[in-house]
């Protein structure tokens, strides 16, 4: 599987994503700078976490209009896989690749800790190595992760199996006290309609080593490597 990581001024998780892709898929990703107008021929583009362009105006809003994002959008429309993590989720949502928006956390605080994440579907190239209902432990680190969409959009996401992950209690039940940011319907990650684009707030690339508390993120990278193997 060939992959690329888009790097903006202010990205800060691109090296973690690079390490995870290299270790688990076996091929180092190509790093692409935000000013580049051409993407190499790859199977996956990863948009990493951080504070692109200082997150001025709104998180991800300026990055969403950068030259490279136009190219990512065009390729995604042709079916290429795109994974947006944290700020990357905010960026691809602002770019219109995914519905909804990520607002400031309901508690107004930056949240940085491991959360329980329930896998809502195994029917995707990103989640096929997980079981539906499986509970993962993955870290979050964000101030604007409060997923919002109107009721009609949320109903559509659910009926089309586009919700990838939800914040949950350790036993997998949905409980507002385990929703770290006030997201509507506890949504932590969503797919586009054709499920070649996934955006999520938690950081699977930071859950690949026992030493750092969890290896639950590995399944996501393994699933992509299998699905996108040349």
């Amino acid at each position: 599987m060939k992959s690329a990581i888009v790097v903006f001024p202010g990205s800060n998780r691109e090296k973690d994503a690079e390490a995870a892709l290299t270790e688990i898929t076996g091929t180092p990703p190509v790093m692409v700078w935000h000013r580049d107008t051409e993407l190499p021929k790859v199977d996956l583009v990863l948009v990493p976490g951080g504070f692109s362009y200082g997150d001025y105006l709104r998180c991800g809003a300026i990055a969403a209009h950068s030259p490279i994002l136009r190219e990512v959008k065009a390729r995604a429309d042709q079916g290429m896989a795109v994974l947006g993590i944290c700020n990357g989720f905010q960026i691809i949502t602002e770019a219109g690749l995914l519905p909804g928006v990520l607002q400031q956390n309901a508690g107004l605080k930056f949240v940085c800790r491991n959360v329980n994440l329930r896998v809502e579907t195994s029917q995707s190239l990103f989640t096929s190595r997980y079981e539906k209902g499986q509970v993962l432990s993955i870290p979050v680190a964000h101030h604007e992760g409060n997923y919002y969409a109107d009721e009609k959009t949320l109903d559509e996401l659910e009926s089309r199996d586009q919700v990838a992950f939800r914040y949950c209690a350790p036993d997998g039940s949905l409980d507002p006290s385990h929703n770290p940011n006030g997201s509507q319907r506890a949504i932590a990650g969503v797919f586009n309609r054709t499920k070649n684009v996934l955006g999520l707030m938690p950081h699977p690339e930071n859950a690949i080593r026992e030493l750092l508390g969890s290896t639950d993120g590995r399944g996501l990278f393994k699933a992509m490597a299998e699905a996108l193997a040349a």
């Binding site: 709104r58 209009h65 909804g100 928006v101 956390n105 107004l108 919002y148 969409a149």
Partner: protein, 80 residues
């Protein structure tokens, strides 16, 4: 010409910052304060003397970048 753009959250969209401001005002003794909603104010210098053209251009700026119309409304005032 100057364009003054106000960006506000749509009705029904949770505004945690607005709520925190309301709580702070209550704790200062402003007990007549009810709901508080906050937003953004952006002032743009425009090299355009035709008001209709300016309005249409700023509307496009709002729709493309300045506001996220999933959750925000915008209004534009033009000042000579």
């Amino acid at each position: 010409m100057k364009a003054r753009v106000h960006i506000t959250l749509k009705n029904g969209v949770l505004d945690p910052q607005g709520r925190a401001i309301a709580n702070a005002l209550h704790s200062l003794g402003f007990d007549k304060v009810g709901d508080v909603r906050q937003g953004k104010f952006i002032e743009i210098d425009l090299k355009e003397s035709d008001k209709a053209k300016a309005k249409s251009e700023v509307d496009q700026m709002c729709a493309k970048l300045l506001a996220n119309t999933v959750i925000e409304n915008y209004s534009v005032d033009l000042v000579e």
